[in-house]
């Protein structure tokens, strides 16, 4: 925001939204990283903390929605101000979903505690979450700088996460086929992997929103996809 409004209270309202989104982003990142750590270390206490933190994100999203509505009603925003406010609402909702996915992963910690997570799978999940968290972290940086080029480049990288998820999916199937006693744990882990993959999608949504906020145009073309799990096991595969 290079220039300031003649009415300073308007600037304060926009700054408030910006600050709350940044806070939500930081908390969402923390929740996801804690959830994955709790999962691989079978740390039920940490998992519980993630579950209880989710309400903070939920409240922040509602607060952002309420403030945005009031600002629209009072200021009749146009052009980039309007895009800023609409973008805030969308980003807050993506971050709230990221928190939900972290929470859902944390809930599964207790279910898999008995059997533990096989080392190689834990590494795979950690790696997947590193990719998703790096993407989330970068997208939050881009939220601060509003660089449309960087927003685009994040969007174009979602396929890395998709590819990693597909490979984990296959690996989990293999374990289940090897020994049916693995099915319960592996199914939970499959949901965890899916949760983390979805976090990447939300980071991509946020990147697209930021691109729109900065340029006023929707990013062109389809986002690249490399999640091929929907066809795993299909006749053509064998």
């Amino acid at each position: 925001m290079a220039s300031t409004h003649i009415i300073r209270a308007y600037d304060d309202e926009l700054k408030f939204l910006f600050r709350r989104i940044s806070e939500m982003g930081g908390l969402a990142e923390q929740m996801v990283s804690d959830a994955v750590r709790a999962l691989v270390n079978a740390d039920a206490a940490l998992a519980q903390k993630v579950i209880s933190d989710d309400v903070i994100l939920d409240n922040a999203e509602r607060e952002i929605g309420d403030k945005a509505i009031v600002t629209i009603a009072k200021r009749q925003p146009v052009a980039s101000d309007l895009r800023e406010i609409m973008g805030s609402i969308r980003i807050a909702s993506d971050l709230e979903r990221v928190g939900d996915l972290g929470k859902n992963t944390a809930k599964r910690v207790i279910a898999v505690q008995g059997t533990g997570v096989p080392r190689s799978l834990a590494r795979g999940l950690e790696h997947l979450s590193e990719l998703a968290l790096a993407q989330l972290n970068e997208v939050l940086d881009v939220y601060a700088t509003r660089s449309p080029e960087k927003a685009r480049s994040i969007r174009d990288r979602d396929e890395e996460i998709d590819a990693m998820y597909t490979s984990l999916f296959r690996e989990l199937l293999t374990y289940m086929m090897e020994d049916p006693r693995n099915i319960t744990t592996c199914t939970h882990l499959l949901f965890c992997a899916k949760n983390i993959e979805r976090i990447g999608d939300h980071a991509t949504n946020i990147a697209e929103t930021i691109y729109y906020m900065a340029t006023g145009a929707q990013p062109e073309g389809e986002r690249p996809k490399d999640d091929t799990t929907t066809s795993v096991g299909a006749p053509s595969e064998q």
Binding site: I6, S80, A217
Partner: protein, 273 residues
């Protein structure tokens, strides 16, 4: 001096010329306006589309009203004012010495900031124009014109039972709609509005805006407004003036979501440039 009719005939085939005419009711080329030494409007070029509403916006003193007043030669009445360049309506140069300003103003009506009804009856306010321009052959024709103009202006139901009472006795919003009826009565092609709602309350403003929406099918409307929201609500095209320059002219939808010019952006968002 550039002349639109010359340009179109020499550079465009006949079919394109017709298409260009349909896209442009009013065409301004390299318009300069001076008040004495002050260069108030610089190099204004714009094509104003027929049967639509074009809004002029910009800070006070930017030249938007000056340009509006050029379109029906209202600036002729200001001794120190000099207009250069070319303004054409349907390809006819309105500053041509052969053009009679009175006839021009019958074709290009105007509604002002403050409602200014004549100190006469409601009926006479509307009948005055058609009568001096000889648009009615008898009283019954004149009655029809008055009724039709008041209906178009959305005022008929409110005044039909008191057409002989003074126009000045109406409320501000009704007076403004009476002025619009007066402008419409002579069947103009273009209606210029200079901040027509700035003296009206929100309800009266909404009625005038609704009226603009209703009549735009039949007229080319150019409106100067200080209310950005009004420009966004009523117009299809918006032109932004700044320090005597036309800095951007765009579809209204684009102008208020993603304008091209930084000065437009700062102005409509209420920011310091």
């Amino acid at each position: 001096m550039n002349n639109l009719s010359n340009i179109t005939t020499t550079t465009m085939p006949a079919t394109t010329k017709v298409a260009a005419m349909n896209l442009s009711k009013i065409s301004a080329r390299d318009v300069q306006v001076y008040y004495g030494d002050k260069h108030a409007l610089k190099d204004v070029n714009i094509e104003i589309r027929p049967r639509s509403v074009t809004a002029f916006i910009g800070p006070s003193g930017c030249g938007k009203s000056t340009f509006l007043r050029c379109i029906n030669r209202m600036n002729d009445t200001i001794a120190s004012c000099r207009v250069e360049g070319n303004i054409a309506i349907d390809g006819e140069d309105i500053y041509d010495p052969k053009v009679d300003p009175v006839q021009l103003r019958a074709k290009v009506g105007m509604v002002f900031q403050k409602p200014n009804p004549f100190p006469k009856s409601i009926y006479e306010n509307v009948a005055y124009g058609p009568r001096i321009h000889g648009l009615a052959r008898n009283k019954s024709e004149l009655d029809d014109i008055v009724a039709s103009a008041l209906q178009k202006a959305g005022l008929w139901n409110e005044v039909k039972d008191r057409l002989e009472s003074p126009g000045t006795g109406l409320s501000g919003g009704q007076q403004q709609r009476l002025c619009i009826a007066r402008a419409v009565a002579v069947s103009p092609e273009v209606i210029l509005m200079d901040e027509p709602c700035s003296a009206l309350d929100p309800i009266a403003t909404a009625k005038v805006e609704e009226l603009i929406h209703e009549i735009r099918e039949n007229f080319t409307i150019v409106i100067v407004t200080h209310s950005m929201q009004q420009a966004a609500r009523v117009s299809q095209r918006t032109a932004m003036f700044h320090l005597g320059n036309l800095v951007e002219e765009n579809d209204t939808d684009k102008m208020f979501t993603n304008p091209d010019d930084q000065r437009t952006q700062d102005y409509i968002m209420g920011r310091f440039g």
